[in-house]
Structures are given as structure tokens and as C-alpha cells.
Symmetry: C2
Subunit: 155 residues, 2 copies
């Protein structure tokens, strides 16, 4: 008998952007960073693969943490609508849009008020921890009216 | 002026699984390997990211090359229906299904006769070249009737 169970190469999609043998987890654990109404499903994470692919889903009115880090994000929107902040620019998002977040760039995703926002996010498997903005960083970001409206959830 | 052009973080989806500033390319170039009716779009390939994400689309009746290599594939079906061979097992595919292809495992994707098959494929950016099956490898694979039917496109 093999030491490890034989696992099928296929994990079937289930209704509602869920998958066989993929847990829907809290977005973050043991973290004081602010976020709201967002879940995380790790679709691919394997020591033999240098990238990791996760599916995040944000409920209406929810948002990811505003943060930055050295590692990059490469994002494919899969469902719904919302906005993201990248640096000091705000983008409206629709299904299949592609987003690149460069190293050390402030970023946050927000679902619309009446829409779920679901997206795939590719990262390196080995990566650094995020940094949160200081009060001065936030004030700098809020200097642009559109960014302030984004951060207030009133876009 | 910066040396490199400033490129927006967002590339919009266009109708029919196409994207701004993403070329729809032949599946392979300068390669004698057999394949049919398949295109490749590289969505994310960046020297600062260790993974690479491509979108492949196979027209009805088309197929990718039957091959194997050391690097892994992690696949998310995005549209349509078809089958894949992984090792000596054949799987029917539907949108959002997840497929893992282990190192050195023979694999091929085929669209259905009346359906496009479109999927995302995550690989390491640095990776080895594929190997093609020998006549003996093919005979071994065809020993399973379902695999023979798959290879003949008659599933």
C-alpha cells in the first residue's frame, strides 16, 4: 500500500464556485488587518509548483485588506462586479478582466453593493508578508477624491 | 521620461475569451508535434512572478499534443466541454473543473465534437521541454479500450 492516498487528478466543480476537496476558508486567520465578508479557496498549492492559485470571493459590500508587499499578484476576475485600488488608481472590474499588481503597490478589492466579486489570484508559493498602511500612507491615498470614495465604499 | 512605457495594471476582457494587449497565438511554433485547432494566449508572464498563466482554446474536434515533461500543470476549465487523458485515465471535463497533471505523466486535452474547450493552465515560468511518446508508449496507452477511443477522437 502506498503511504499517501492516491488522489484523483480531477476535482469537480460544484455549484456556486465551490470544488470537491477544496475548503472555503476565512480570508485571513489570526490577523488584525481589516477586511470584510471575504472567503478564500486554495485551488492549487503544491511543493512541485512555484505558483499558487487561489479563488477569493467577496460578498456585496465586502472588501479585502488594503495592503502592499514585495510579491506580485496576477488576478483574473471570474464573477460579479466591483472595484479595485492599485496604487492611486481605481478600476471598475468585470468578469474575465486581468489585473497585475506590481511589488510594493497598495491594493484593495471591493465588491459592489449588490454584487459578489469572485476572482482567481496567482502568487508565488514562497512570498513575503503584507504591510498595512500607516496613517500618513492613508492620508496620502485619500488625497485623491476617487480613492477616498473607493475607501469609503461609496463608489 | 521613464525608459519603459507605463502599462496599465488592468487589461479588459473582450468578447469571446479575448483580452486587450493579449495576442491569440498558435498553440506551438516550429514544432513537429501533432496537435489540431488550438490557440494559446499568455495572460501572465512576468520575470517577477514564478508562475505563468496561459489560456488555451481548442475548437470542436481539436486536441493538444500528447506529451509528458517534468514540470506540472494546474488547469481550470473555463468554457465548453471535452475530455483529457492523464496517465491511463480519461476524464470528462466541464467548466470550473480543476485538473492536476503530475510530473512525467502522459496527458492530452480534446474538445468535444460540437464544443469549444477553453482552459487556464498554470505552469512554472522556467520549465523543461515536453517529450513525445514512442510507438511502444502509444501501444501501451492504447491497451486500455477507453484510452484508445479517446486517442481516436471517438469518445
Amino acid at each position: 500500500m502506498p503511504d499517501t492516498p492516491i488522489v484523483s487528478s480531477l476535482r469537480r466543480a460544484e455549484p456556486g464556485f465551490a470544488w470537491e476537496r477544496v475548503a472555503r476558508l476565512p480570508y485571513k486567520e489570526g490577523d488584525a488587518a481589516p477586511f470584510k465578508a471575504i472567503s478564500r479557496q486554495t485551488l492549487f498549492s503544491d511543493p512541485r509548483l512555484k505558483g499558487e492559485l487561489r479563488y477569493f470571493e467577496i460578498e456585496p459590500g465586502g472588501f479585502s485588506t488594503l495592503e502592499r508587499h514585495e510579491h506580485m499578484h496576477a488576478v483574473v476576475i471570474l464573477r460579479g462586479e466591483g472595484h479595485c485600488l492599485i496604487g492611486d488608481l481605481v478600476y471598475a472590474l468585470r468578469p474575465c478582466d486581468l489585473i497585475t499588481i506590481d511589488p510594493w503597490t497598495w491594493h484593495q478589492f471591493r465588491a459592489g453593493q449588490g454584487e459578489v466579486l469572485g476572482f482567481l489570484c496567482l502568487v508565488d508559493r514562497d512570498r513575503d508578508k503584507p504591510q498595512l498602511p500607516s496613517a500618513a500612507d492613508l492620508a496620502g491615498l485619500r488625497a485623491r477624491p476617487e480613492v477616498a470614495r473607493f475607501l469609503d465604499g461609496s463608489l
